[in-house]
């Protein structure tokens, strides 16, 4: 296995003001993510996904346990600048991440902070804005955009920084299905170019196509492997707040009527199995 770029070592986390009696948001989580991996992180509302994401760029620190990015611990404040350059984060709520008064300035903000020269900034803004479909909106005020337009603005701002690890917390929750697919293609492109992707999602299509699936339940990892193995366990699927994909539901209904098929995860596989 190649050297991990992200490591969580027996990590637990409890929010400072959590009411007495509530269990920790994460308990005893260990996870290695190799350079260039694509990991989908799933689980019911409140299972600890966003908490895990916040640990990855040092926004919060584990106690007890250890979070390492590229071998550097998030516990040492001296490492945080480097860690945040390495790990780009897209938060769940786009409003919380918009900082500037125009879309163009918003994308420029992070680049300026990194000390990138002005003409290079111009070039990157233009390139990412085009890729994310916000080129026409560069002069607009972000708070007056539609939900999906805001989400694209935030994505463009983070991707423009070209982080080696991208942590995306439900990045397409407000996009229509075509924009969702286009966005996923963009992320796959970055992934093929070598970026490491941690992708939090509730969307079935994004889940079944992920190479590696990590599922959380009540702050603990309950599955780590290929999506196929996950969906072949109906109880696990249900207890993590997920529902089986359409192809699995239909296969199961057919099996109940005596038509046994090889397990299908996607519609294409289902059609092949039926017509075989």
């Amino acid at each position: 296995m190649p050297k991990p770029i992200v490591t969580l070592n027996e990590v637990s986390y409890r929010y400072p003001h959590a009411p007495g009696g509530t269990p920790p948001a994460l308990s005893n989580v260990s996870l290695d993510i190799a350079r260039g991996e694509f990991v989908a992180l799933v689980g019911a509302n409140g299972s600890g996904k966003s908490t895990l994401a916040r640990l990855l760029n040092g926004l919060i620190r584990p106690a007890p346990g250890e979070a390492l990015v590229d071998g550097k611990s998030t516990a040492d404040p001296a490492n945080l600048d480097r860690i945040r350059e390495t790990v780009g984060m897209v938060f769940q709520n786009p409003d919380s991440q918009i900082v500037a008064t125009t879309v163009g300035d918003d994308i420029a903000f992070g680049l300026e902070n990194m000390g990138i020269p002005p003409d290079e900034i111009e070039r990157r803004i233009e390139e990412t804005a085009r890729r994310f479909g916000v080129a026409e909106l560069l002069g607009r005020e972000p708070h007056w955009l539609s939900g999906g337009q805001k989400q694209r603005t935030v994505l463009a701002g983070v991707v423009a920084l070209r982080p080696r690890v991208l942590v995306l917390d439900e990045p397409t929750s407000m996009l229509d299905s075509r924009s969702q697919r286009e966005f996923r293609e963009l992320i796959d492109e970055l992934w093929r170019d070598g970026a490491t992707i941690v992708y939090i999602t509730h969307l079935m299509e994004e889940i079944v196509t992920a190479p590696r699936l990590v599922a959380l339940q009540d702050g603990a990892i309950v599955y780590d492997g290929a999506p196929r193995g996950f969906f072949s366990q109906p109880e696990l699927t249900a207890s993590t707040g997920l529902t089986p994909p359409l192809a699995v539901r239909i296969s199961q209904a057919l099996a109940a009527r005596g038509h046994r098929l090889p397990p299908a995860l996607s519609l294409t596989e289902l059609v092949e199995a039926v017509c075989a």
Partner: protein, 283 residues
């Protein structure tokens, strides 16, 4: 017994920041009549005007041209009659402001002049409907996960028990099981109370489970308005407007091509299972 609200748009249009350099035309010439008790879905690509249409229909954003009517009466600048509508914004978590979940959900119904017991009953029933148990009642809304906040926002709107409910992408941030639950709750609520329910969504499977009638928007214009099953089964129409058909419709297309025999088009999962079983039995 709650009677649904009748909604009407008479050549309504909406321009944001008219006359300014970045003025944006969000909607043009929309005619629409929604009967009391209808379940209407609104679909369309990013920026097509869905949220704008929902806010116009709810009467909380005045149109810049044309008219909005509730029960045949023009909605004035003051907005809809108190207690008639409930609207959940695309980012309802931004509208949480009380110190506890229970207080937040009680805020709206608490201003309707109801007695305390009735408010408490509504708060409990709304929290239950969104899957938040009693342990959440005294939590601070900002100390919740994204999906939990969304549930609180939705509960606050359900607790109004209004004559018309307007929901903007209510399933965003919810986990898959909670999405199905919410849709089923909305259908149940509509059937039991007769309230009019209008929902913006971008998941066609969810819209197919929810809507009797579907409106499709593209670039600020209403490009389709009709019974949801027919429009959702029309893969060509949906794709022309940047939308993906429901999974079952995609499956119908794939299977009729692969089996190289005509397959009756289907929309529901039961129909899909039926059609596939027949193909397998025919061999």
């Amino acid at each position: 017994m709650c009677l649904g609200l009748r909604l009407e748009l008479d050549e309504a249009g909406l321009v944001y920041q008219p006359g300014l350099p970045f003025s944006a035309t969000a909607l043009e010439h929309v005619f629409l009549q929604v009967e009391p008790g209808e379940r209407v879905g609104i679909a369309g690509p990013v920026g097509s005007g869905k949220s704008s249409l929902l806010e116009l229909l709810a009467g909380i954003t005045p149109p810049t041209s044309g008219q909005v009517l509730h029960d045949g009466q023009p909605v004035g600048r003051a907005g809809p009659k108190p207690g008639t509508i409930g609207l959940s914004f695309q980012a309802p978590e931004n509208c949480l402001f009380e110190n506890t979940v229970a207080a937040d959900v009680a805020f709206g119904p608490g201003r309707l002049g109801l007695d305390k017991e009735e408010v408490a009953r509504r708060v409990r029933s709304a929290l239950e409907a969104t899957g938040l148990d009693e342990s959440f009642e005294q939590r601070h809304p900002f100390s919740l996960s994204g999906g939990e906040q969304r549930r609180v926002g939705l509960a606050g709107v359900l607790a109004l028990e209004p004559r018309a409910l307007f929901l903007d992408e209510p399933t965003a941030y919810l986990d898959p099981a909670a999405r199905l639950d919410l849709i089923d709750r909305l259908v149940e609520l509509n059937e039991e109370s007769g309230a009019t329910v209008v929902m913006v969504g971008h998941d066609m499977d969810e819209l197919s489970r929810f809507a009797q009638r579907l409106l499709i928007l593209d670039a600020g214009r209403m490009v389709a308005d009709g019974p949801a099953p027919g429009l959702l089964a029309d893969a060509g129409l949906l794709r022309d407007h940047g939308l993906e058909p429901p999974g079952t419709v995609t499956l119908a297309g794939l299977i009729s091509r692969a089996a190289s025999l005509p397959v009756e088009p289907f929309l529901t999962e039961e129909q899909a299972v039926e059609a596939l079983a027949r193909i397998m039995e025919g061999r």
